[in-house]
C-alpha cells in the first residue's frame, strides 16, 4: 500500500521516527478528517513564523449528535402537525402547516450550518511550542485559549460513559501551573493516544530536540 505524502517540518525530521509515524497513524485512523498530522495551509492568530503545527484535532462526530437530533426534530414536527391537521381542524389549516414546513427547512439549514461551523471551528491545535484550544459554541460565542508546552505539569484522560467507551472517545485534561485543571480537550477520538503524543512532544521539548 502506498504511503500518503508526508510534510514533515525540518525540526521533526531529526526527531524519533516512531513519534512522527505515530502522529501520522493517528491522522490515518481518524474518520471525517478529525485529526490532521503536520497540516499545511492552516494558520491561527498569533502563530510565530518558525512555529510548526504538529496536530490539528477536532471533536468526534458523536459530540454533535444532540444537535443533529434537534435538526431532525425541527424537520419532522411540522410534517407530523400537517398530517394531524387533516384529522383535527381545530389545530389549524393545512396551508399554515405547509408554510411551517418551508420555515422548518430554513431553520434546519441554519442549524445544520451552525453545527458544521461548530465542528469545523472547535479545534485543538498542537504545535511545537503550545496548545491552542478554539471553541465555537454558537453564533454569539466562541473562545480562544492557549498555553505554552513548558507550562504543562500534568495530563489526564478519561472516557465518557457508554458512548465514549463504544466509540473510543474521551476528554484530555491538561493541568498547568496553578489551581485545578486549566485545559480540557473535549470529546477527542482515542484520547490515550492523544495524551501519549502530547507526552512525547513535551519530552522532546524538554530535551531540546525541537
Amino acid at each position: 500500500m502506498d504511503k500518503p505524502k508526508r510534510n514533515i517540518p525540518k525540526k521533526f525530521q531529526k526527531s524519533k521516527k516512531s513519534f512522527v509515524d505515530r502522529v501520522y497513524l493517528e491522522s490515518q485512523k481518524s474518520s471525517f478528517n478529525n485529526v490532521s498530522a503536520f497540516p499545511k495551509g492552516i494558520s491561527f492568530y498569533g502563530k510565530d513564523s518558525d512555529e510548526d503545527i504538529v496536530l490539528v484535532v477536532r471533536a468526534h462526530w458523536i459530540a454533535y449528535l444532540p444537535d443533529l437530533f434537534v435538526i431532525l426534530l425541527v424537520l419532522l414536527l411540522p410534517v407530523l402537525l400537517l398530517f394531524l391537521s387533516g384529522f383535527y381542524p381545530l389545530i389549524g389549516t393545512q396551508v399554515l402547516y405547509i408554510g411551517m414546513i418551508i420555515l422548518s427547512i430554513g431553520v434546519a439549514f441554519t442549524l445544520l450550518l451552525s453545527t458544521l461551523l461548530k465542528w469545523y471551528y472547535t479545534v485543538n491545535i498542537i504545535t511545537d511550542q503550545r496548545i491552542v484550544v478554539i471553541k465555537m459554541n454558537n453564533a454569539f460565542h466562541h473562545s480562544y485559549a492557549e498555553t505554552q508546552l513548558e507550562k504543562i505539569e500534568d495530563m489526564t484522560h478519561h472516557h465518557l460513559g457508554f458512548l465514549g467507551t463504544f466509540f473510543d472517545v474521551g476528554d484530555v485534561e491538561i493541568d498547568t501551573a496553578g489551581h485545578g485543571v486549566d485545559f480540557v480537550l473535549r470529546m477527542l477520538p482515542r484520547p490515550r493516544e492523544m495524551q501519549d503524543i502530547l507526552n512525547d512532544l513535551l519530552e522532546m521539548k524538554q530535551k531540546g530536540d525541537i
Binding site: 492552516i42 399554515l96 418551508i102 420555515l103 441554519t110 451552525s114 478554539i134
Partner: protein, 85 residues
C-alpha cells in the same frame, strides 16, 4: 317575526378557538429569529476566519452568505403562506 326574535336571543354567542391562528405570531417571530441568527453566523464566520486561517475559509464564507440568502427568501415565502393559512 317571532322566529327572528328567537334567533337573535338564543344563538347569540359561540366561542371558537383555532390553534392555527395562535401559532401564526410565534412562527413569524421564529422566522425573524432565523434571519437574525443567519446574519450573526456570517459575522461569526468573519471573526473565526481571522482566528484560524484554512484553505476552506473562502468556501465557508460563501456558504454563510448562501445560508443568509436562503433564510431571507424562505422567510418571505413562509410569511406569505403562514399569514394566508
Amino acid at each position: 317575526m317571532e322566529s327572528i326574535y328567537e334567533q337573535l336571543f338564543t344563538n347569540s354567542l359561540t366561542l371558537s378557538l383555532n390553534l392555527g391562528d395562535i401559532l401564526k405570531i410565534p412562527l413569524v417571530v421564529i422566522l425573524l429569529a432565523n434571519i437574525f441568527y443567519s446574519f450573526m453566523l456570517v459575522l461569526k464566520i468573519k471573526v473565526l476566519i481571522d482566528t484560524i486561517g484554512t484553505r476552506s475559509s473562502g468556501k465557508i464564507k460563501k456558504i454563510g452568505y448562501l445560508n443568509l440568502g436562503i433564510s431571507i427568501v424562505i422567510g418571505i415565502l413562509a410569511t406569505f403562506i403562514i399569514l394566508l393559512g
